[in-house]
């Protein structure tokens, strides 16, 4: 009777016969886009020394603030350094910071959150402390930490991870409190299973899914944060070619050579976008209930 309806049914049937990978890409196009983008950036970062003709730290007084050319694809900065090379090498630092912050805050968060979820009196103390930490805007906490320590990539990672921890702890604790009441946990208790084993076998695996999603968002925001800190002068030491530092260097010459800020900025934006898309995509993939909403 309804021709368009039958055509639609046929199309759906055809799609069901497509290879799985294609079907997956069709259903989660943004996740796949994010993964591809991130893969490209990671590839460029790993093979940066072989992909760049110029040394990222080599200065050249004659070739200062040059626009794009065959030799310097993205031009040069105020000290004649090749921006293309610096940008690719900067990817290494930024990716490192992003992943380490995500890993560190997730690791600390999972331990503290699980303990808080299982022990009432530790919970009371820890959560008050976390409330206090959340009341300090993250960037200021990080700035304060950085002024008190010798700048290095490690301290930047810690300074960025610290303000993220309370959010992870809250998430983990909320999840643990729900999981704890599940019948299978009580069954395990009843069978005499010891707490560490319950945690390892039943609790932590259930935490991982939401935690991975959260960690990918933390990773994205950490890369932006690193750039902000460097930009404010409280980031990685100036000699490290992180994206933030390259752009901070470009601040004084932005009117003359916009490329110094534009190219690393775009790379940063693209990488953060990729990780955000992955985070969104994973959340939709892992939690179909929310998938319709965000």
């Amino acid at each position: 009777m309804d021709l368009s309806l039958e055509r639609l049914e046929q199309r759906i049937a055809r799609q069901a016969n497509q290879p799985r990978a294609l079907r997956f890409a069709r259903r989660h196009p943004l996740l796949v886009l994010g993964l591809v983008l991130l893969a490209i950036v990671v590839f460029l970062a790993i093979f940066a020394p072989w992909l760049c003709a110029n040394d990222p730290t080599e200065m050249n007084v004659i070739a200062r603030l040059k626009p794009s050319s065959a030799e310097h694809v993205f031009g040069t900065d105020a000290m004649g350094r090749d921006i293309f090379s610096r940008t690719l090498h900067g990817a290494r630092v930024s990716l490192l910071v992003g992943f380490c912050v995500a890993l560190l805050s997730a690791a600390v968060g999972i331990v503290v959150g699980t303990v808080a979820g299982f022990s009432r009196w530790i919970d009371a103390i820890v959560m008050r402390f976390m409330d206090g930490m959340m009341a300090i805007p993250g960037i200021l906490l990080a700035v304060a930490l950085m002024t008190l320590t010798q700048a290095s990539v490690q301290t930047v990672i810690i300074a960025i991870a610290l303000p993220e921890i309370p959010r992870v702890v809250r998430l983990v604790r909320a999840l643990v409190l729900t999981i704890r009441e599940q019948p299978y946990i009580q069954a395990a208790h009843a069978c005499g299973t010891r707490l560490p084993r319950i945690l390892a076998r039943h609790v932590v695996p259930n935490l991982l899914t939401p935690l991975i999603v959260q960690a990918s968002f933390i990773c994205a925001s950490a890369m932006i944060f690193e750039a902000y800190l460097s930009f404010l002068g409280a980031g990685t030491p100036p000699e490290v070619p992180s994206w933030g530092n390259i752009m901070a260097d470009g601040r004084s010459v932005v009117q003359l050579a916009f490329g110094v800020i534009l190219y690393p900025g775009l790379f940063l934006g693209l990488t953060v976008l990729a990780v955000n898309l992955i985070g969104d995509g994973l959340r939709d993939l892992l939690d179909p209930r929310i998938a319709k909403k965000l």
Partner: protein, 312 residues
Amino acid sequence: MYFLIKRIAAVIPVLAVVAVIVFLLLRLSPGDPAVIIAGDSASAQDIEAIRRSLGLDQPLLGQFFEWIWQLLHGDFGVSIFTGMPVLKLIMQRVEPTLWLAALTMAFAIVFALPMGIWAAWKADTWVDRLVTALSVIAFSLPVFLIGYALVYGFSTRLGWLPVQGFKSLADGALPFIRHLILPVVSGGLIYTALLARMTRATMLDVLGEDYIRTARAKGILLPRLLLRHALKNAAVPIVTTIGLGIAMLLGGVMVTESVFAIPGIGRLTVDSILRRDYPVIQGIVLVTSLAYVAINLVIDLLYGLFDPRIRY
């Protein structure tokens, strides 16, 4: 009234913990903070002087209570670099930052709410996809890239707006606004993106509720349906996001001030970082945290306006 007192009382422990954290930051940081603050070229006397001015030579507990006592009397310490009281330094810089933050927030709300509402109403259409795509992209771009791109376009190329600086409202409304347009837009985009996403998600939830179906079955016109029936139900989570997002907004504002050379708190922070003027940074942390907690307390108290089920 009882609720009011209870809510305000609940804020006190939070502030106390903030004070403890800020205090511990200085005491527990690895290495000798006095040495780091003094810098590489400092002499032994300089370091000793800094140590004494920070109270690092005093016993921990006594120092803490003395510090709290001073804080309660409005004494936030003295700048190492300028020798001026920290609170006075901050107050001098408050005006541009307050304007910038308030206008950025207004900008974000004005754009994000309609975008999020419209996207939710048009869910799964190109309008929705466009809004979602724009907000993911805006959420991923660093504030200063947007800032410099806007300066490059509107100031350097077109010459329509000033490149940087700040004019007080006392100098006339037009220069004030002309100087703030670009900072507000560049600092506000990321916050707009956050709010738009949140508004869309919450509205999408609400629009799926039975009472929206009822309202549609009553023939309620679209504007009233979206604003009175749906938005009022979505208000609590949206307003919460507006409040919590202020932490992110502040980060944006600090960077924006740096991009546009606006003499506000962000600028003071950058200067203090350069000078390793820790007491000033500590003061900024305390004052902004206090403001952040206060704003969120006010928002908490506003919930009752939107949801009659929340009783005081």
